[in-house]
Every structure is written in C-alpha cells, then in structure tokens.
C-alpha cells in the first residue's frame, strides 16, 4: 500500500513532466516541418515561379497594438492583402504597445523575430547594427524613395543603407489659442517662413502670461511623465541653439555637444520658463490648453489634433516651430517597418510592406490615426495635411528639413534615457550644466563599452 502511494505520486509528477515535454516536442516538430517546407519553396521559387504561386508563403507580422483605430485598419489591410493575392499569407500578431520594446528585444535574444515587424522610431538602430534587419535598397526604387518624406528616409537609413519605411510620420509644433493670442496682441505666423523669432516667442509668453485667463503661458505636456516625449519634444530646443544630443559626424561622443555652452544656454532658458512660472512642471491634467484653457500655447505633436479641435473649435491655430536660439528645429519619427534577417521569405514580407506603403493604404491609415502621411503623393491628397489643410504646417516642417531625426545610432536607448533624466531633473530644479555633464559621461561610456558601435561591413 505504502509503495503504491509513493509510486503514484512519482507517477503523477512524471506524467505531468512528460506531457509538458510532449507539448513542446510537438510544437518544435511542427515548426521544423514548416521551416523545411519554406526552405524548399525559397529554393524553388527562382526556378519555378508557378510552384510558389500554388503554394502560398506564410509570413509572420508583428505590430504594436496602438489605438483601436490603428489596429482595426491594419487588421483590415491584412485581411484585404490575404484575399487580393494568393502568393503570400500574412499572419498578424498584435503585441501590447506598453511593453513592445521589451518583448521584441526578448524575441531577438531568443532568435525568434517574425518576418516583418514595426519599431518605434530610433529603437530601430540596435536591430540594424546587430544585423537583425535586412537592407531594403534592392526593393525600393529611387522614384519610390523620392516620394517619401525626407525625414522618413533619413530615419530609416543606417550605415548608408535603407532599413525601414514608415507609413506615417509625426509632427511637432505649437498650438495656440487664437482668442488669447489676439487679445494679447501677438502676431500669428501662418507658414514656416514667417515663424516667430526667439524674441517674438518670449514676448508672446510675457503677453499671454499677463492675461487674466492664463495661468501658464505655455503647456509643455510635462504630465506625460518620464517618457520618450522629453527627448522627442525638447531635443529640438537644444538643436535650435546649435547643440545636439551627440556629435553626428561619427556618433562617437556627446562631449562638447550635449554639454556645450549652447546646450547649457538652451536648457537654462528652458528651465527659466518653469522657474518664472510661464510653464507648469507638474500640470494637474492633460487639458490645461484645450479643456481648462489656462494655457495660451501648447507645445505638443499632431496627435492632439482631435482633442484640441474639439476643445477650442475655431480658436485653434497651429504655429510653426519658432526659432529657438539660432534656427527652428522640430522633431519627427514614428513607427516604421523593417524586414528581419531571420525571415525565410523577405520577398514575401516586402510584398506586404509594398502594399502597406501604397498611397491609398497610407491614407487609409493616416485618416484613422491622424498622423502625417509618409509619402508626398499621399500627403497631397490628405485633407488635413495637404496644401491649405489645417495641419499643413507639419507637412511643411517635414518636407523642408526643419525636422531632425533623433540620433541614428545603437546608443540611442542610452542617449534618450540620459536626456530624459536631464529634462526631468532640471525641470525639478537641478543644475543644468552638471546634469548635462552626467548625461555625456553616461553616453560616452556606453559607446566606449561597445567599441564605438562599429558598423559591420
């Protein structure tokens, strides 16, 4: 009896172990079968085009969950693509946006990236540098390339090769409350040519602050917290003064660039806005500009169009990026697609990507999510961003080179972490110069630890 019981327990545990291993075994086996099948197809494809047509290729596609509308459009696009042709079957997987970076990094470490996936802007370069993505140059004709916004091409190019294409871009400028601006007697620029000078901008802040309705002249969206927003939004300010996050000639050091006198001047001015009460370092909510209307200006991107237009109606104006210091600079970049080197069928992945970047498909996406269409031909048809559109300023900034991509280097995660900390700390009162020095030290250390991130030939 005692023996029986003992063996029973051992058996139960043993069986559960075996079952679990069986599960994995089966799974691994089917994967192997699939792999060999697809390999065969790849081998046959060049020789026999028809064979490939009979036997459709399945590709895995990952994308971030995004807002409901964005996801809906992409799911519809996948469905449409799968029915309109019979060579490629797209298998989409939506990954939660809140943890997308960690999840893709884990997948790259485990070596199971899909065929095609999207990246949040500058997070791309670690993957290109490490060889996880393949260049798209052979697929992208020069006419096609020319039709894309220069910012998109710049963002997708690493080491002289194009690795990614986005279907939409983002825009950053200043939204204004027309009623307040007129009351304060501030000139409202209408194109990037006649944007505010630095003096004009400062005068505008003073004039707005003097109004009874206004508690803080400008809202910098500090309620976003510790977020990529800090780098996206505020690195253009130091770039306006002539500084940058890193020396872009060779991406080897931030010394003398990020902690340059220009950067210190820029951020000291930025800090003074908070100290002098023109901006709120800790806003109570998101709606100081469009809901409670206690701010006359809002320094934020295109994504606030809907709440802003709902909140302010005809009083909403979009003002191009002012000249901060020496020149006007704005941010750019958004989610963009790349084909992985693990893909057995890069051609099939490209076919799907090619479909996504058709102007009509781009417009379908941007009409849903409100972003800037990535191609000029799509942009021209866009009601919001096209010539005469209410958000045309964003398009101008992106087309005319006012927009600067964030640093194109695998060191980006370190750079942005360091810069976010600088912004957070100086806004809560820390010394600008020593914060920048700390950031430079961290960035240079990271580059040194990785032997300067050499690009493999």
């Amino acid at each position: 009896m005692k023996k029986v019981l003992l063996w029973l327990i051992v058996l139960v545990i043993g069986i559960s172990m075996v079952i679990s291993f069986l599960f994995t075994g089966c799974k691994a086996k089917t994967e192997v079968v699939e792999e060999t099948a697809t390999e065969d197809e790849v081998a046959e494809e060049p020789a026999e085009e028809e064979a490939a047509a009979e036997e459709p290729v399945t590709i895995k596609v990952w994308f971030h969950s995004g807002k409901g509308e964005e996801r809906d459009v992409l799911e519809k696009q996948v469905e449409e693509f799968n029915t309109m042709q019979d060579e490629v079957i797209v298998e989409p997987i939506v990954l939660p946006e809140g943890s997308f970076n960690e999840q893709t990094a884990a997948a790259s470490l485990a070596g199971d990236l899909p065929d095609l996936l999207d990246f949040d802007g500058p997070n791309l370069y670690n993957y290109t540098w490490a060889g996880h993505l393949i260049p798209l140059d052979e697929y992208v004709s020069s006419e096609l390339k020319d039709d894309f916004l220069p910012s998109i091409i710049e963002q997708g190019t690493y080491g002289g090769k194009l690795y990614s294409l986005g279907t939409f871009d983002s825009g950053l400028a200043i939204w204004g409350n027309k009623a307040y601006l007129e009351k304060a007697g501030v000139r409202i620029p209408t194109s990037i040519e006649d944007t505010w000078t630095f003096e004009e901008f400062n005068e505008a802040l003073v004039a707005l602050q003097a109004l009874d309705e206004v508690e803080y002249a400008i809202d910098f969206k500090m309620n976003y917290g510790v977020d990529e927003w800090d780098t996206y939004g505020f690195s253009p300010i130091i770039q306006g003064w002539g500084a940058d996050l890193i020396d872009r000639s060779d991406y080897q050091s931030a010394e003398g660039v990020l902690n340059s006198p220009e950067a210190v001047e820029a951020l000291t001015w930025f800090q003074s806005l908070f100290v002098d009460g023109y901006a709120n370092a800790a806003p109570a909510g998101d709606d100081d500009f469009y809901g409670r209307k206690i701010s006359g200006l809002s320094f934020v991107g295109h994504w606030m169009w809907t709440p802003h237009s709902e909140g302010l109606g005809d009083d909403l104006v979009l003002i191009p990026m002012p000249i901060f210091g020496k020149k006007a600079v704005t941010g750019m970049g958004s989610w963009c697609w790349g084909i992985t080197s693990q893909s057995e069928n890069p051609e099939a992945a490209w076919k799907f990507l090619e479909f996504l970047i058709e102007p009509d498909e781009i417009l379908r996406m941007t009409n849903a999510n409100g972003a800037v269409p990535a191609r000029k031909s799509a942009l021209a048809q866009s009601e919001l961003y096209g010539e005469g559109g209410v958000l045309n300023i964003f398009a101008q900034q992106l087309e005319e080179g006012v927009a600067v991509p964030r640093p194109i280097t695998p060191a980006y995660p370190t750079i942005t972490t360091a810069f976010i900390e600088v912004i957070q700390n100086i806004v809560s009162g820390a010394d600008v110069k020593s914060e920048l020095d700390k950031a430079v030290k961290k960035i240079d250390q990271d580059i040194e630890d990785n032997q300067g991130y050499p690009i493999a030939e």
């Binding site: 003992l6 051992v10 990094a105 790259s108 470490l109 670690n126 972490t417």
Partner: protein, 323 residues
C-alpha cells in the same frame, strides 16, 4: 526564521538519541528507507528549484563578468571583461543612491507597516457585527494588482487638485498645499512609502489577527485577576505572545522592501533626481531599457549578497533576542 535554527538544533539532539535507540533496536533498515524516502520527496522541488532558479542565477553570476547585451550582435560577441562591471558599480553614484533609498524605505516602512498592521489587527479582532466586512475592506488593496494600484495613486497624488491635495487643503483650512507629491524630490519617496504601506498592510494585518486569536484567553483572565489595565495587558501579554508573528512580519517585509520595483517603475521610474531610485529599478533600467544585461547582472549579484547579509544579521539578532 529563528524558529528554524532552534528547531534544527533540537532536532539534531533528538536525532542523535533517536539514532541511538534505533541502533539498539536494530532499526537500521528502516533508517535507510527513511533516507531514501526523504530524498524522493525532496527530488521534484529540488530539481525544479535547481533548474529554474539556481542555474539561471549562476548564469547571471557569469554574465556579470561580461558585456552581454540584451539585443545580441553576432558581429560583436559577448566578451569576458573581468571585474569591470563590479568596479564601476562601486563607483556608480546611482547604485549608491538606489541602495540608500532602499535602506531609507526599509527603515521607515518596516516598523510603520508592522505597527499599523498590529493596530488594524486589534481593531478587527473585536467582536462586533460586520467585522468580517471591515476585514475584507482592509484586505482589498492586497488583492489589487500593483500596476493598477500605482496608476490609481498617481491620480490621487495629482499635483493640482488631486484628491490628496484637496484633502490636506480642507483639513488645514487652506493653509497647506498643493504639493507635487511625485515631482518633488523631498516628497516622492514618502509618497511611494505611503502607497506601499497602504497596499501591503492588509496582509500583515491578517497574520497578526491570526496571532491574536492564538493567544490563550486564560492569560488575559489571569491578568484581570491581578487587575491589570488594558495597556498593561497589551504590553505584558499581547506583545510578548506575538513575538514570533512579529519576527515573521519583520523579515518578510524587509525582503519585500528591498525588492521594491513595480510602483516606482509605474509612477516615477526612479525620479525626480533619483529620489525614488531603487536597486531593482536600476537593475531593470540598465538591463531592459539600456540593453546592458552584463551590468544589470552585476547589480543583481551585489544586491543579492547585500540582502542576504542583512537577513542573516536579522536572523542572528532576532534569535539572540529570543533567548
């Protein structure tokens, strides 16, 4: 844990005597069987712990001597870099700050939470109607996912008209506030502490409640014969009787305090100006945000040694106290 050592000692003694009597009676066979059964019973857990906890930690230990990246680069394989991570860690002011915050957090939260838990346990140990309802309410935060708790509290801590600021304003008649709870370097860690106590105290309360119910009623009756007042009863009966409960609560709260991560990550990411940075937040930031798995592993190893040392000291001290 003190219990454990003492028990081991006692057991050792009885083991010897058992063994001797067994030998006398010629129970050698049975003894051998017992050893076999013991190992069979240990085997599943030991195997699982070894594979899924010990081995990974040993790997982490090795990684701490390398420059392993999160996103690996086949063209630049991971290298052995000796003690570089550790040498850098000793100089790293962020790590020092993180440990300091961990210590401050533990030193404040452990006693406050323990005392508060005891107070609550005494309150809900009364024989009143609906007392079960109150127990459940006090326990609600424990069953609420920490991510959710942190999000909700960041709204309550809202720097403008957040509930907590409004409350303080009302109480003080408009004299105090508003405070930027999570934005002010002097307040952020306190804000995290309050939330952590709020979330965790219900669990300790239940443990104390159980402890209170385990105290023999005769002790109180005897005290009443000696006409002791409520305070004396608490001081001379309740507290000493709850000693083992307290030791358990203190040790487990200390370990949890050092593992502080989720609420900080959701609410402040360690800011402002490292005011809420903790060892695990730094470990996560280095490893998962900045791709430096090697350095992050070094933090893990050092952190483990430090917490292990602290809990050893705690065990020795508490054991000594018991004698």
């Amino acid at each position: 844990m003190h219990n454990l050592n003492q028990n081991i000692k006692m057991r050792r003694k009885s083991n010897n005597s058992d063994l001797r009597s067994n030998l006398k009676r010629g129970f050698g066979y049975k003894r051998k069987r017992e050893v076999t059964v013991a190992w069979v019973l240990c085997a599943p857990a030991l195997t699982l712990l070894f594979i899924f906890l010990v081995v990974p930690f040993i790997i982490a230990f090795f990684l701490s001597f390398t420059d392993q990246r999160l996103i690996p680069n086949p063209n630049m394989p991971t290298q052995f870099i000796g003690f570089r991570n550790f040498l850098r860690l000793f100089m790293d002011e962020y790590f020092q700050r993180a440990l300091l915050n961990n210590f401050i957090f533990a030193i404040v939260v452990v006693p406050v939470q323990t005392a508060f838990a005891l107070l609550l346990a005494i309150l809900v140990n009364q024989k009143l109607r609906f007392i079960n309802l109150f127990r459940t309410i006090y326990f609600t935060p424990v069953v609420t996912t920490m991510v959710v708790v942190a999000i909700v509290w960041s709204f309550l801590y809202n720097p403008g008209e957040g509930f907590i600021n409004q409350f303080i304003k009302t109480i003080s008649g408009g004299l105090l506030g508003p405070y930027g709870w999570l934005d002010d370097t002097r307040l952020a860690l306190t804000a995290i502490m309050v939330l952590s106590i709020w979330q965790g105290v219900g669990f300790q309360m239940v443990i104390y409640l159980a402890g209170l119910q385990g105290i023999p009623a005769e002790l109180y009756e005897a005290a009443e014969v000696d006409s002791a007042n409520a305070w004396q009863k608490f001081w001379y009966i309740t507290l000493p009787q709850l000693k083992n409960t307290t030791i358990f609560v203190v040790i487990s709260t200390t370990i949890l305090a050092f593992k502080l991560f989720t609420q900080v990550w959701v609410m402040t990411r360690g800011g402002p100006q490292s005011a809420t940075l903790t060892a695990i937040v730094l470990l996560y930031k280095e490893g998962f945000v900045q791709n430096r798995i090697g350095y992050s592993a070094a933090i893990a190893v050092l952190f483990f040694l430090i917490v292990f040392f602290i809990s050893m000291v705690q065990r020795i001290y508490l054991r000594g106290e018991r004698r």
